[in-house]
């Protein structure tokens, strides 16, 4: 598993990468009440704002960590956005992306480096 400075986690799953936000990020955001996910089939570039997360008071953007195509989104989050607070590292993943370059993921932090970052 890899981690971005934007508090996303990335996990390889075959030739896809599953992306979500970390426990730390979900607790910082507070009670999540709305999530807007990208369209399946969308072509995205690294740092595109592709997910919007809203809490009671504020909205935050999540950037695409990779260049690639959005293959699947987690529809469950549309009806139950609070799952991101309950299980951010598991069931509440955001989307699966097919990266243009599978090496791109390697530039991100491993768990030890991320733990140090949020320490």
């Amino acid at each position: 598993m890899k981690f971005t400075e934007e508090h996303e986690w990335l996990k390889a799953e075959g030739d896809l990468v599953v992306v979500g936000i970390t426990e730390h990020a979900s607790s910082q955001l507070g009670d999540i009440v709305f999530i807007e996910l990208p369209d399946e089939g969308a072509t995205v570039s690294k740092d595109d704002e592709i997910v919007v997360i809203e809490s009671v008071k504020a909205a935050s953007d999540i950037l695409s960590p990779l260049d690639g195509e959005i293959v699947e989104i987690n529809e469950m989050l549309v009806d139950e956005p609070s799952k991101v607070n309950d299980d951010p590292m598991g069931d509440a993943w955001f989307f699966k992306i097919k990266p243009d370059n599978s090496e791109q993921m390697n530039e991100y932090m491993d768990e030890a480096a991320y733990t140090k970052l949020i320490g």
Partner: protein
């Protein structure tokens, strides 16, 4: 940065309760505690929440007697002050010469003086404004820096306070009284900013932490931060100065005519004679271009302040903007307030809000979004 922020007398209490702090009006204030905004909000609606609002300005106006002070204050605000009974409180606002709002506040008749609570972000300007206009009339303006202010809000508030002062249940909405809590002389008003029954309690700085901790010992009381204070007041349809009303806002457009007593309006015994009276009184007669309304998006996406609003049938026509928007913890849907051109402000009108390049359907509604429950 944070060491330049001012601290309230309850700052240590916030730190001890693991508050997430935020800068607000120059103060280091609790945004939320461990339970979070949603839980703090719902707790206030069902039991009792304790808020530190010591950043707000507490001001005392004194003259020869109450009547002199009241007459002086009436030159700055479109409210009746002289008729306010002893130990009663009223909502008011300062207007300026162009008919805008300089600040909104609560003021009460404390027998020989007037006590005011004003917004933190405006208190310096308010004090300057008061001194400039009231000192020449023989009224002194004192900024009380020696008192903290907390709010205890929610249906259990009376029960909690009655354990310290049983006669608290005699107080009605907008009554004011001086009572002892945990040995401290507290100035209590039965009012607040949540739409719930509750009390605002002014406490000498030195006693503030002890009084707050004493109230927090009650199992029904939890600390609530500024985050939930904002969501509670918006559900209650209450304006926030700097957001829904400001120096450019007409009190009539903002729906605040109810706060102006009849005697100050056209045909009244004390018609006009406050800053911007011509403009404001003509707006009452002729209406305003915009009106502050409640807004409920049909979908789940919240619409935040500064979101632009458009006509539904003619999408290019801009008809207003959002001033406050949250997700309502009670209604479980987004709610907002904003200004709409008057012809679009009727309840039930459908309009569009532009959010991230998409047009979302929004229904115009009246406020409050949740029923108020005051003790009357």
């Amino acid at each position: 940065m944070s060491d330049k922020l001012m601290h309230t007398p309850l700052n240590k209490l916030h730190q001890n309760n693991n508050a997430r702090m935020t800068a607000f009006a120059g103060y280091d204030m609790p945004l939320q505690y461990v339970n979070g905004i949603m839980s703090e909000h719902l707790h206030t609606r069902s039991q009792a929440g304790l808020f530190d609002v010591s950043h707000m300005g507490q001001i005392v106006l004194r003259g020869n007697d109450f009547n002199q002070v009241a007459e002086a204050l009436e030159t700055l605000i479109p409210m009746e002050v002289k008729t306010l009974q002893v130990d009663r409180q009223r909502y008011g606002f300062f207007t300026n010469s162009t008919g805008g709002i300089l600040d909104d506040f609560m003021f009460s008749n404390r027998g020989d003086h007037i006590y005011m609570v004003v917004n933190a972000s405006r208190k310096e300007d308010d004090i300057k404004h008061l001194r400039e206009h009231l000192e020449p009339l023989g009224v002194s303006v004192k900024n009380l820096e020696n008192r903290a202010l907390i709010a205890l809000q929610g249906p259990a508030s009376e029960k909690v306070l009655s354990e310290h002062y049983p006669k608290i249940s005699d107080m009605q909405f907008m009554d004011v009284s001086t009572i002892p809590i945990a040995g401290a002389e507290c100035w209590v008003s039965r009012s607040g900013y949540t739409g719930e029954d509750g009390f605002e309690i002014s406490i000498p700085n030195k006693a503030a932490e002890n009084v707050a901790n004493t109230l927090l010992k009650h199992e029904l009381v939890e600390l609530v931060g500024l985050g939930a204070r904002d969501s509670l007041r918006l559900e209650a349809g209450l304006c926030l100065y700097g957001q829904d009303i400001d120096i450019k806002t007409s009190p009539i457009a903002a729906g605040l005519k109810w706060a102006m007593q009849k005697s100050r309006l056209i045909g009244g015994q004390q018609e006009g004679n406050f800053p911007g009276a011509n403009k404001i009184l003509s707006e009452i007669e002729n209406g305003t271009e915009y009106k502050l309304v409640g807004l409920i998006p049909i979908g789940k996406a919240p619409i935040r302040s500064n979101t632009q609003l458009f006509c539904k049938s003619l999408v290019s026509q801009k008809v207003g903007w959002v001033t406050s928007g949250i997700f309502s913890p009670v209604k479980k849907c987004p709610i907002a307030m904003g200004y709409l051109k008057s012809e679009f402000s009727t309840t039930g009108t459908m309009i569009h809000a532009e959010v991230r390049g998409k047009m979302l359907e929004v229904e115009v509604t009246s406020v409050p979004f949740v029923k108020k429950s005051f003790k009357k």
